[in-house]
């Protein structure tokens, strides 16, 4: 037995030695590269350990998507001909005769989608965790400009295959330029369209897509990286001290670089699998006859703008108003660090801005989906108000409910409050807020609809009854919400000023102990 034990120990130690030898060999290999390439020289500051989290690297993954775009795009450039007569034929040639051509096109397209989606996620994450606040305002603005350049890639790249869908949609987009103010319209016409018809237009788009926009994006990336080095990675907003392990820093090479490569490999494999599962099919070639029978529709990332433009009030003379509205949204996004400039960074401390952010996402998704399922249809203004108002209300109510839950959870840390009671209140809060959200959305929609009907059709008995009924239900909903908020606060014992009107039928023993 003892001999067997010795043999086992010897075996284990042998394995350990072998393992150490393997490990040192690998370390030597890494050191060899490091000493030759200077990878671990302190050009980039080390990253804190808390940054080893995919959400911290959404921007980096956007750059990875850009690199994949660059590689696949450069291969396609070998075959693509940017002229109206040959663009479609050369694209078709890539699909049918170039080795893995369809696959390249598919990966290029889906990675472009992923790039836009990742850039959007990066922006919204930054917004919610307050990275746009002091001292990173300039980084936010640079990032926003990079986002617009990314959308520019989408806009210019969409035309290049010269399919009937892409050409028709791009023509609609270009047509809107004339609705912009004079100098802007002239400049954009000069830059994008030129004076040579389709041939110039395609060539300009191609040049923008493969030379101008990549150059701008790379310059902006360098500027943003420089600022990132100056400010460092933003700290997580935990509200307390970071654990010592989280504060530990890791060198960019090899630790952080390897982590990034892991993320890039997982992202790349995801893109490959999606491309394999849903290979791209080339739509028909653009001809004016076919275009006349086709309803132009932009790609998904512009569908929200498309849907805004389809609202009846923005048709014809209202187009400049719609474009001004879209421009205003972009301006607000750029200037956000100066609008939401307060010192509070935690989500629980910024209910208004967090709710506005959630509404923004919900409205974008709603508009995009709506635009997708109603191609070419003009949307009546009252219907738009009903849907968009309803969505905003549902999100607001849900957000309010969540903030109530967060705050009640924070209060549960107080020693004087009964925790099991708070849990019951939380569940009750959740149910009530969900019910109120649904009811509130319905009533606000009905009220808007009845108001618009009254204005359009004039006062008659049915429209008046509908108007009174809908506003009464809305008033009941608002009162019920106020009463409910008051009651839950009363139960929690956090009411500062009692309102006796809301306490009819309320027994004093239910009032929280803190009172």
């Amino acid at each position: 037995m003892a001999e067997q034990g010795n043999e086992s120990e010897q075996g284990t130690s042998g394995k350990k030695e072998k393992n150490t030898a393997n490990s040192s060999r690998l370390t030597r290999l890494v050191s060899w590269f490091d000493s030759r390439l200077g990878l671990s020289y302190p050009l980039l500051r080390p990253a804190p350990e808390y940054a080893i989290n995919p959400f911290y690297w959404l921007g980096a993954l956007t750059v990875v998507a850009f690199v994949i775009q660059g590689i696949t795009g450069m291969i396609m450039m070998l075959y693509y001909v940017p002229s109206p007569t040959d663009a479609y034929l050369s694209t078709e040639y890539i699909f049918q005769s170039v080795p893995y051509g369809r696959f390249l096109e598919t990966v290029h397209l889906y990675t472009a989608y992923a790039m836009i989606m990742l850039a959007f996620m990066h922006m919204m994450r930054g917004y919610f965790v307050s990275v746009h606040k002091k001292p990173r305002e300039a980084m936010w603005i640079t990032g926003m400009v990079m986002g617009f350049v990314t959308l520019g890639f989408g806009f210019t790249g969409y035309l290049l295959p010269w399919t009937v869908v892409s050409k028709s949609a791009t023509d609609v987009g270009i047509g809107m330029i004339s609705a912009l103010p004079g100098p802007v319209s002239n400049l954009l016409n000069f830059l994008i369209v030129g004076a040579g018809g389709d041939a110039t237009e395609l060539l300009r788009f191609y040049d923008l897509h493969v030379v101008v926009l990549p150059a701008i994006l790379l310059i902006l990336l360098a500027v943003k990286m420089y600022m990132l080095e100056a400010h460092g990675i933003s700290e997580p907003i935990t509200g307390g001290e970071l654990a010592p392990k989280q504060k530990r820093t890791l060198p960019i090479f090899p630790d952080v670089s390897l982590y990034l490569l892991e993320l890039a490999a997982i992202f790349g494999s995801g893109m490959l699998l999606i491309s394999a599962a849903f290979p791209l099919n080339l739509p028909p070639q653009y001809t004016p006859q076919l275009a006349a029978q086709t309803t132009p529709q932009p790609d998904w990332y512009f569908l929200w703008i498309y849907q805004i433009l389809k609202i009846s009030v923005f048709e014809g003379a209202g187009l400049p108003v719609a474009l001004s509205l879209v421009t205003l949204i972009f301006i607000v996004l750029i200037l956000l660090p100066f609008i939401d400039s307060g010192p509070r960074k935690r989500i629980s401390q910024r209910p208004i801005f967090v709710t506005l952010g959630a509404i923004f996402i919900a409205e974008l998704v709603t508009l995009a989906y709506w635009g997708l399922v109603t191609p070419g249809q003009i949307i009546p203004v009252e219907q738009a108000a009903l849907v968009l108002g309803g969505v905003a209300l549902i999100v607001s109510f849900t957000s309010l409910g969540l903030f109530k839950l967060i705050n009640s959870r924070a209060r549960s840390k107080l020693p004087t409050v009964n925790v099991s009671k708070i849990r019951r209140v939380e569940i009750w809060n959740g149910i009530m807020f969900t019910a109120l959200a649904g009811f509130g959305a319905l009533t606000i929609g009905e009220s808007l609809d009845s108001g618009v009907r009254l204005i359009i059709k004039g006062p008659n008995l049915s429209s008046l009854v509908y108007f009174v009924f809908s506003f009464t239900t809305l008033a009941i909903c608002v009162l019920a919400t106020t009463y409910f908020i008051y009651r839950s606060d009363l139960r929690m014992g956090t009411i500062k000023r009692r309102v006796r009107m809301f306490e009819i039928g309320w027994r004093d023993e239910k009032v929280g102990k803190q009172q």
């Binding site: 696959f103 890791l250 982590y259 490999a265 997982i266 490959l272 394999a276």
Partner: protein, 88 residues
């Protein structure tokens, strides 16, 4: 012991990567099914690389790689290889 096991996994993954690359060269590059198989094998290569990198990185920090990630990675690789064989 754990470290020894992870090194064995790295060796296995490296062999798998080489096999995938060799197999990819044998595919007909103009066939649509081959494109799908090519994508699956390339994905296997990338996931194998991510796993190897994870093991090396965590090992370098004197920590033990989390078994759950290695199991998930192995399952994904297995599913992809089997899928590509079925497609073929």
């Amino acid at each position: 012991m754990m470290l020894y096991q992870t090194k064995r996994i790295v060796t296995l993954l490296l062999s798998l990567q080489v096999t995938c690359i060799v197999f990819m060269w044998t595919l007909d590059a103009l066939n649509q099914i081959s494109e799908a198989i090519f994508a699956l094998f390339l994905a296997v290569d990338l996931i194998s690389f991510a796993m190897m990198s994870y093991i090396y990185r965590v090992d370098k920090l004197d920590e033990v790689p989390r078994r759950i990630w290695i199991i998930i990675g192995c399952i994904v690789v297995l599913v992809l290889v089997i899928s590509s064989l079925i497609i073929q």
